[in-house]
Symmetry: C2
């Protein structure tokens, strides 16, 4: 016969319990099929062992959803082991008010400890929600860099390294006149990927022409789209082609470029090589299959989970975890057309 207090201590490991009683209690638990009530535990200790995954209301693309769920799965891989569960919150319905609602809601919920930590995915710069989270010192990790100096721990893939790799794979094939297709530099990721391209070029002593930087336009997320990419490349093709390869911001935009290219009668990779970024599932299924930068999203989620766990346990964590990426060579990259190789590319 032991007191509930002892059982509690045993279950939570919150204090020493003698070898003997431990055995007895465990056996009794086994026999009675006793399982502690989460509801009561949460209530009594004033915290719920729950992590909030906040889904932005804006990004409704299935594209993104794939990433999000993969991240959740990665998070769960590590959080489940630590007995945390994941609660999803989204403001899908109120695209307008989401951020405000989420902010208000989350601070209240936080006060009540309805969740112990939070993970935000791909926030935009100067996100008021993140600022609120930082200010309230809510354990949080953001996936996809928020800002280089923010007071949150961040987890991201190596975007700079990725496009550098992509560009280098092209120069290795003999390309010297390489274009970059991407959105304006509105986010960290946006600048990073462009920077990687520039770095690779610089290492080869290549000075990029202005005309090589193909920048999409549009409102909000539109700049990341297939259509924007297509339009941009289409427009670029109205003047004589002065590059033999293209590094695209992501796979979707790579496909947009390929569409414009093929409509202009240009063949990939014979006339121009294309490299994407993300390695979405269909990258290997399109024809020609897309050479691209691969990132392990689930692992990214795991990293985020581990970081959050450390935070929750009050342990030290790196402020920024950068996950390496790799290049997958498929069919959209090849040596440059022979005619182009001999062309003078100084401007």
């Amino acid at each position: 016969m032991v007191s509930p207090a002892t059982v509690s201590r045993l279950i939570n490991g919150s204090a020493q319990v003698s070898r003997e009683t431990e055995r007895a209690v465990r056996q009794a638990m086994q026999e009675l099929g006793y399982v502690p009530s989460r509801l009561a535990q949460s209530f009594a200790r004033g915290s719920s062992r729950t992590v909030l995954f906040l889904v932005d209301g804006e990004s409704e693309s299935m594209q993104n959803n794939s990433f999000l769920m993969t991240i959740v799965l990665g998070l769960n891989d590590v959080l489940a082991d630590a007995d945390y569960s994941i609660r999803i919150m989204s403001g899908h319905q109120t695209v307008e008010g989401i951020r405000k609602n989420a902010m208000q809601w989350s601070t209240e919920a936080w006060r009540r400890r309805e969740f112990d930590g939070i993970v935000l995915s791909n926030p935009t710069t100067n996100d008021p929600l993140i600022e609120a989270v930082i200010e309230r010192k809510i354990p949080a990790v953001v996936i996809g860099r928020y800002s280089r100096v923010a007071g949150v721990v961040q987890v991201d893939v190596d975007n700079v390294g990725g496009t550098r790799l992509a560009t280098q794979s092209l120069t290795a094939l003999g390309h010297r006149r390489i274009a970059f297709l991407g959105p304006p530099e509105v986010l960290t990721v946006t600048s990073d990927r462009r920077q990687g391209y520039l770095e690779a070029l610089a290492r080869m002593g290549i000075k990029p022409l202005n005309a090589w930087i193909l920048e999409t336009d549009g409102v909000d997320l539109e700049v990341f789209s297939f259509e924007a990419a297509r339009r941009t490349v289409e427009k670029a093709l109205t003047t004589p082609l002065d590059w033999t390869a293209l590094v695209a911001f992501n796979d979707e935009m790579a496909l947009g470029a390929m569409r414009a290219l093929s409509e202009a009668g240009l063949k990939v990779p014979e006339d121009v090589s294309v490299v994407g970024f993300d390695d979405l599932p269909y990258a290997r299924m399109v024809t020609p299959s897309l050479s691209t930068v691969h990132q392990d999203i689930q692992q990214l989620g795991q990293h985020a989970g581990r970081a959050l766990l450390a935070l929750l346990r009050g342990q030290a964590t790196a402020d920024l975890t950068i996950q390496t990426v790799s290049l997958v060579n498929r069919e959209t990259t090849a040596t440059p057309p022979t005619s182009a190789e001999t062309v003078d590319f100084s401007s």
Copy 2:
């Protein structure tokens, strides 16, 4: 001055409160910034206003993840309004033990009312977990038909109608010799989609040749894959082509078919037309863009959410909700090659 009980009654609408005290209490709540504690509420009433979304451990494809998150978002659209939140549970890490763990865990959790309802996505036939859920009378809805007679409420897209539509779009273009590419009939969805194809043919008085049914092989989920589709069509092309169009089980398999076709020197849609199913985001981004059957996954999630809500409130619900799909005509479908039109297709 009122008693806590009155406040509780007001908040939950569990009993009448006079107009006057209501006003007073609301104002006080406002001033004090009072928000009821979910933790305490859940504990006291022995239920948590939480819905469990169970993610299968097997399907690790990003493909599927996109669907899953979209469903979650749809669920959340309706559940959030009813003040339910969504908890995600997956057994990703223990591919082996997932079902068992999930089963054991969920029954315990259910006993403690850690969740009030559950939604399962795309279960396989004779899923022990579902059986357990049914047996314990846990409010549940399954997305993607489980079985025609199971004692759970189910929500699904109109798979039969989808492939029927796809096939009809082909006959309308003049095609008469139409193949179907799909996995063996291992699941409801698998039989349904094949059936729609057969129905459309029957309505036109066309008797399909055996050779028109292209069935993939492989273990488990492999039969749904790009590779399996590619292999199967590749093999089919070793004999003279006796069809001018192909209905694929899904977009991924359609792409697999297109790849095999193009490798055999056949042009889509000039030589053969192809229709997919799902309308994945990239369907419109590939070249040629894929004609396919569109389904609104988020809406599917909303349907599921509404159904579950009804269950939770003890209201009546349809046992089966079938959501209509639509055909999206893009570039992979065209009139059959003229030579083929005049060919005799009786066997």
